[in-house]
Symmetry: C2
Subunit: 195 residues, 2 copies
């Protein structure tokens, strides 16, 4: 039992440490040796937990996905459905700001780096996007029912555009290292929501 | 003179062919040997034109930038400033559709792959984003002056959000290989423009 617990801790340590170098350098530019170096585990121990680099990359994505879904669920705070969506977007901005817009969004990075070449990676990224869009769509549909959504598009379309605007805004702020870019995108989202 | 012309053609051949593999595999995963293989030029000839891989990558970005600015200048077609912006966005959608959403946007890819680690790359990407935003801002400002822009945000902010939405929408469609994602983003942009 203690051994299992230690194994779980090692696995989690590998995932969290590898996440940091994947954010900084991307998947292709990170080697198994880089992972061994930063995690400090032996090659044998690494291969005990993971079949190879692709397996580690996938497990990191799944780990971040789980964390993001939890973060997302707690981010829809506010008195009205539109306020909940606006605050959720704001929470993502605060997260990016904490990291000084370095690293960006791991899913966005992986989407651009891997989605044409690796179907296992793109499946995880697709499921993250779909869940995120569905959550926003849920609140926008409530707003539409309550006649408090005044843009002339369907809640599903608007939800998709909001996710796209945030991902694109993260990209802009990452390139310029200027928080105003993502901030301006949020202002436009808020205007569309009437918030 | 003939030699110069031949040299220019070789340089251009290297740029166009390397662009295709950079779109597919990214910068880090493309080696000098890959470039020699796909271009068919000798190592000596390659190094005659470029100092190294970073130099080729930058020259490819500059080449695509020049092409994109020309494309952009010709894309603002329509009777009103808002129609011009909407049609320009539509033209970018058609380009992505032609490529079946494979490869995505080279600037977006490079932004996510290189902007934290390579200041020379991020300078080019920043100049592309700034020019694109400025062009849209120009037409939205005309629309604002003519009282035909009905969103309650500044033209500059809206221009930035439009570029972000397109980049994010390209990312979504690239992951899902479903044109509906970028298409829905365009519908929302058009609704914001009252088009």
């Amino acid at each position: 039992m203690a051994q299992t617990k230690k194994g779980e801790m090692t696995r989690d340590h590998i995932l969290k440490t590898t996440r940091a170098i994947l954010m900084a350098n991307g998947f292709h530019d990170t080697s198994i040796n880089d992972i061994i170096k930063v995690t400090g585990v032996t090659k044998g121990n690494l291969y005990y937990h993971f079949a190879g680099k692709e397996d580690i990359g996938l497990a990191v994505l799944e780990d971040v996905k789980e964390e993001f879904f939890k973060f997302l669920a707690e981010s829809f705070i506010g008195d009205t459905p539109c306020a909940k969506v606006a605050n959720s977007c704001q929470a993502i901005f605060e997260e990016q700001k904490k990291n000084n817009f370095v690293g960006g969004c791991l899913f966005g990075n992986a989407a651009l780096e891997m989605s044409d070449s690796n179907p296992r990676f793109s499946k995880v990224i697709r499921s993250v996007c779909a869940h995120w869009i569905r959550e926003i769509d849920h609140y926008l549909s409530l707003a539409k029912e309550g006649h408090s959504l005044h843009v002339n598009v369907s809640p599903g379309m608007l939800a998709k555009a909001i996710v796209a605007t945030i991902e694109g805004g993260i990209m802009l702020s990452r390139v310029t290292k200027d928080q105003a870019d993502l901030e301006d995108c949020l202002t436009v989202i808020r205007a569309m929501l009437g918030e």
